[in-house]
Assembly symmetry: C2
Homo-oligomer: 231 residues x 2
DNA sequence: CATTAAATATTGAAAATTCAATATTTTTAA
DNA sequence: TTAAAAATATTGAATTTTCAATATTTAATG
């Protein structure tokens, strides 16, 4: 099966990275205590507020980093991540409870690795630790860049940034099947659903994008970049 | 001198942490290649876009993590940090250029440690690496919490969050000499200067705070917390 | 396959925020 | 010490954004 082959590749990507730093014996230790799980669209992989007992390695699929605010019941999407990637942000760094949830926005394959097993290996092997932290920190970088976008730009620039991110970092192309709802796009761009819908309608009229249902095609990416720049 | 004594304590704090993981010999190696510098209010310690050649350890003073946007010339303050703390966020994790600048908002004493020396030690010593990464990741957490505040709350809630943070994490009390200008408060709360000024005037009338020049006293911190909660 | 729920879409009013203009006070630098 | 610059403060108009109401389309569920 194609999917399993891909999963194998992704997994071997993680294995490959790991084996540069730890022994095959040590990697087997990780494998032995890891669980291979599938999550359906919408399911929560790691939950905000829970104890960080596991580190997740995303083999296939797309996930969102979702923060839920008790105060007003609103969600904020900090960033999106597509496989293959180690999902360390929420708990690789902190001893505290998970800052946010990690939720599948498409069907996902995930390896859940026991934190304490991995941490013991990291403590024994500084090179492995440094490498893994550097990989994981990429997601922080993305969250911060999204913060900057939200802080400095108004809705149209922010939505442009979301679509540029989707095109460049998630779907790797200008045509894709959007796995986010308009509500989720709004939670990512930090604006109302109406803003997203109106902006997309406007862009369609201006022939910047074509969008029908979930099918998106970015027709004029330079114009999107310009909108992002203006803010 | 009192200042030097304090600096000595802060420094020995870092030394103390380090010596739990590395040898005295190895720490001497850090010391040997480190520079002890003083920065005046407003001076840049590490600059956005530069190569991350040094890791900074803040011995005394307060710094801001400042992001400058080319597009519109605006600054955003990601978070504030007070001594003693390792300022790893900008470059402890990334090989890339510094994501943001670190700027003194009060006179500071800083140890600049050569990245490659420290990294060699981290690679040799996984326990040290894990410990240092966990300490440094605190600043990411704060940036993300600030993001959440900006994304979900409106100006009054955000400004309340800024003052709660200043009181709880920077000045450790309800009376303090504010080292930020109104413009900087606005850059931290991601709103206009007018919003900050009007909100502070309003709070003064409502006897939530007393503010004259730089002298701030929070009279009713519970009300501030309530404003923060409402958003 | 029918019913319900959820998602998408549009509109105008209401609210929040920024912008522009201007004045006063404080700080900085010559 | 004084002139210039920066910071603080206030106000109303203009703009942006959200909220509320409502309709249509699509997806989910028994």
């Amino acid at each position: 099966m194609v999917l399993n082959e891909m999963a194998e590749n992704y997994y071997s990507g993680f294995k490959k990275i790991s084996l540069q730093f730890i022994t095959a014996e040590e990697f087997k230790q990780i494998e032995k205590t890891s669980v291979h799980l599938r999550f359906k669209k919408g399911e929560t992989i790691l939950k905000q507020g829970h104890q960080p007992t596991h580190i997740a390695f995303l083999q296939s699929g797309i996930v969102k980093f979702n923060f839920f605010s008790e105060g007003n019941g609103k969600n904020t999407i900090l960033t999106l991540v597509s496989a293959p990637k180690i999902l360390g942000g929420a708990n690789l760094f902190y001893k505290d409870n998970n800052l946010f949830s990690i939720v599948a926005v498409e069907d996902c394959e995930v390896f859940l690795i026991e934190s304490n097993i991995l941490f013991e290996l990291l403590k024994k092997n500084g090179r492995f630790a440094v490498a893994l932290f550097q990989i994981a920190s990429d997601m922080f970088k993305q969250s911060i860049l999204n913060f900057i976008s939200v802080a400095n730009k108004q809705k149209e620039g922010r939505i442009a940034d979301v679509f540029l991110y989707l095109s460049g970092e998630i779907y790797f192309g200008t045509s894709f099947n959007l796995s986010l709802t308009r509500k989720e796009l709004a939670e990512f761009a930090c604006c109302s659903v109406e803003n997203v819908i109106m902006t997309l309608s406007k862009w369609q009229q201006e022939e910047i994008i074509t969008i029908s249902g979930k099918k998106v095609e970015i027709k004029d990416i330079n114009k999107l970049k310009q909108i992002s720049k203006i803010g």
